[in-house]
Amino acid sequence: MVLADQLPVLIVITPLIGAFLAPLIYRRHEKASGYLVLLSLLLSVVMAVFLLIKVRRDGPYFYQMGNWPPPWGIEYVADPLRVFMLLVVVAISLWIFLFAIEDLQHELRRTVIGWYYALYLLLVASMAAITMTNDLFNLFVFMEICAITSCAIITVKEDRECLEAGFKYLILSAMGTGCFLLGVALLYMVTGQLNFGFLQQELTAAVINYPLNVFTAAALFIVAFGTKAALFPLHVWLPDAHASAPSPSSAMLSGLVIKIYAFSLFVIFYRVFPRSLLDSLPLSEIVLWLAAFGVMFGSVYAMLQTDLKKMLAYSSIGQIAFIFMGIGLDQRLALVGGLYHIAVHAITKAMLFMAAGAIIYATGVRRISDMNGIGRVMPLVLVAFTVGSASMIGIPGTGGLISKWYLALGALEIGRSLFVLVILLSSLLNAIYYMPIVINAFMSQDDFACQVKEVPKVLQSALVIGMIFVVITGIFSRPLTLLLEEAVTVFF
């Protein structure tokens, strides 16, 4: 079918069209605009599922923008890995939007909600494009769009902290893209290519002739994506930005946006750089150690926080480091673990932010110490929070355990048992800061002091869907891990 061949670009275009229409419709019909956004996201999900089926059946294929063959045209790739990531992106965006549609009424001024819808869809479109593009410059363009929109969904809530955090994010993110572009220029200098596939061929020779260029580019890429994905020690922007944003934005940023950059680094490591480069340079080693420090740092700092959303934000720094650890370990199983953790953490952290959002929605409480006894007045929200915490800790039956299992197995396979200890230690630390919240929420003898509004049904159903996701990733993980295992085998 002709339409089926156009799927990669349709998935990017559908939310883009929605992004243009949503604010226009919003002026007249607020409800209809929300449904339009839902519809365009739903369409994207359906298309992503079709794409997955197609790729599973016919194998990976390349889509050439406007029928220009590379190296002139821009190329999109649909292979199992990219489609997996794509599916994660669109499905979770759809799910978060369910939450957003209700929560935004409360957090934002009425007039800006239409614009928020547009930004949201633009963000989804740019993330979808980033996952599929096979061209470095196209990647750069969509990274900038992604940066602006994700910054905009922070600052759309115009209070002081959001503005300041948004600006900090924008500047550091600009530094990240600057470094990225410089790296691209260095690679282009020695190869004359921007397409991933051609680059990989050319680089095999270029590494020998121009080693410095390639090494510098690699280092710049680590800095660029490390900044954007909040890899320790380049994470400084994250806690403020994710904590102050409106809750749906926090869920989106912590759940998906930082993962996209980690995924891009992974793609560049394995799709752009030839294997010989990875073997000869300690690139993975650097990423690995940064990740190990990040895991510990994020967990320790999360323990010190008094604000719930800030705690969740610091916890993201620790968790994103798991994904980098998968990349850094440079081993098949660990890579599967890291990639699986993208999905798991996206679901879990988004759900935790939603739960935090629901708490703020209903009570206005943000401080952890004020939440004693809250579980008795809003049980469903706190049960969702508990399930999310369990997945963060890695309790059996939740997705967190599966990704940690793969990571640990990969680390053991290459004899790096030190990193298994890091993983376990971080689980312990996670337990230490997540559990008291849950315990005090349900078991504390103090009665919850604040006035409580009822949480709307839509928010509740979003949380229930999240819990189902978490359990599914924990118990029926096999199809997904099988897909990932097959997908990463080509890299080794």
Binding site: L409, S417, M435, R478
Partner: protein, 505 residues
């Protein structure tokens, strides 16, 4: 019995309580009666179903079946052999009694709507541990049980309970992580964690040792092994008494059970012997026994004393396990039975006393034997069994353990057993003797020195239902102790032969 039926029964045993949990939770809204009825019915069905497995076991049947794959080579699988059967039957039996006992005990407590579902859920996950066919499923159910049991521990929701519960939870997580590490290493070394393929680790290696220590930490923590016992004396006493009985009587055993599985099914026990890794276990067991008994002496709270006593008793099981010969293993497994009966009886009796009189301090127990003769009688019986007075079951297990120690030419262990029994006597007798032969402080002032003219004391027993649970458990201590020709002992002996014979893979 066909294998399919057996598997179906096993799955029902595990799933029925778990599925009933939300039903029970919901039934609270309709009526408390319905909730209680459902809880008892679930526990009873579980017990009866586990008994129906006996004919299959008697014919030497073994089931090992994987249900579905979670990760490559990592399935959720079920297994039924002598060991699983023994523990499953034992635990569902005690659970049934404790549930019956709870009906009246908990009537006075708050939040029954939370207590019963959790109680039944832990029953399901506990059975899941015993029926797990591989380390991973075992780990899953183990964690599930441990974490859910937290709600039982903090049921009272006092400051003290919350603190104890937090300690419990942190230790559980540490233990869980250690287990996770151990399982991953085994998976890495052997490529499988199934219990049905024979000893996975046959050769000595550093990683193997690390994994062994991890298992010791993970399961030993649950079993209250020194130095990981710290949570136990806080957590067990603060729970409601029937829950303490289960925590001490059954849930501790899951740790011991896990260690048995590790020693015989994950490692070949010959390897443990040749590389002397079992000495680690032996040393820790000896310390656990002595330390538990010694500290129990200093406790004045009845439930705390019982909790410390549990630590020392579990030490016997671990000691038996570390000796690794026929008699010792028989003793260890039989002691799992004995201790379940004795300690549950003790906790339930203590619960009845607290429930009726509110007394927790041992010094207040004077004259209690005349006030609550049946309860105190059962308490005394179980305590005597604990000390190891023949013909009670505690004697039989200690005797067999001692025989095992002598077979292994380690008379030192016999000495440890003797010292510990002496200590047991030292801390149990001061409860029993004043209870029967002294007057309460309030009466002593009037009647001092007048032993023959005791004033009539009003008999104030707990309800018959509660009493019956206590009495049944106490009678078990006699029934399974009179002669070695009882079902529990022969099961233990068969299991020991089965384990040492290579597990019949």
């Amino acid at each position: 019995m066909a294998e399919k039926t057996v598997v179906a029964i096993q799955i029902i045993i595990v799933l029925a309580p778990i599925i009933m949990t939300p039903v029970i939770m919901y039934s609270c809204r309709i009526s408390d009666q319905l909730r209680n009825g459902l809880s008892v019915a679930t526990a009873a069905v579980t017990f009866i179903l586990s008994l129906t497995l006996y004919p299959f076991i008697k014919d030497g049947g073994i089931v090992q079946l994987s249900l579905f794959e979670i990760l490559p080579n990592l399935e959720i699988s079920i297994r039924l052999d002598l060991l699983s059967f023994s523990l499953a039957a034992l635990s569902s039996f005690v659970w049934l009694l404790a549930t019956l006992y709870s009906l009246h005990y908990m009537a006075r407590e708050h939040a029954g709507g939370r207590y019963y579902p959790v109680l039944i859920f832990t029953l399901g996950s506990c059975q899941g541990i015993f029926f797990a066919g591989d380390l991973f499923s075992l780990f899953v159910f183990f964690e599930l049980m441990s974490i859910i049991a937290y709600i039982l521990v903090i049921h009272e929701q006092t400051e003290e309970a919350l603190k104890a519960g937090y300690k419990y939870l942190v230790m559980t997580i540490i233990g869980g992580l250690a287990l996770f590490f151990g399982i991953i290493i085994i998976f890495e070394l052997g490529g499988t964690v199934s219990l049905g393929v024979g000893p996975i680790i046959q050769e000595r290696s550093t990683l193997g040792l690390i994994a062994f220590i991890c298992f010791l930490i993970g399961f030993g923590m649950k079993a209250g092994m020194f130095p990981l016992h710290v949570w136990l004396p806080d957590a067990h006493p603060v729970a409601p008494s029937p829950a303490s009985a289960l925590l001490s009587g059954i849930m501790l055993k899951t740790g011991a059970y896990g260690l048995v599985r590790v020693v015989f099914f994950v490692y070949s026990y010959q390897l443990l012997q040749t590389s002397n890794w079992n000495d680690i276990l032996a040393a820790l067991a000896v310390i656990t026994i002595l330390l538990g008994s010694a500290v129990a002496l200093t406790q004045t709270d009845i439930k705390r004393r019982l909790a410390y006593s549990s630590i020392s008793q579990l030490g016997y099981v671990l000691l038996g396990l570390s000796i690794l010969n026929n008699n010792a293993i028989t003793g260890a497994i039989f002691h799992i039975f004995s201790h379940a009966f004795m300690k549950s009886a003790l906790f339930l009796a203590a619960g009845a006393i607290i429930w009726k009189t509110g007394k927790r301090n041992i010094a207040d127990f004077k004259g209690l034997g005349r006030q609550m003769p049946v309860t105190m009688g059962c308490f005394a019986l179980a305590a005597l069994a604990m000390i190891g007075i023949p013909p009670l079951n505690g004697f039989l297990s200690k005797w067999t353990l001692a025989l095992g120690a002598l077979d292994a030419e380690a008379p030192g262990f016999v000495l440890v057993l003797l010292i510990s029994s002496l200590l047991n006597a030292l801390y149990y007798l001061p409860i029993i003797i004043p209870a029967f032969f002294e007057l309460p402080d309030s009466l002593q002032a009037d009647h001092h020195g007048d032993e023959h003219d005791l004033p009539p004391v009003k008999i104030e027993e707990a309800t018959p239902l509660m009493l019956s649970a206590i009495v049944i458990l106490a009678l078990c201590t006699i029934f399974f102790g009179l002669t070695p020709n009882n079902i529990a002992f022969s099961l233990s002996r068969l299991t020991a032969v089965y384990l040492l014979g290579g597990g019949g893979f």
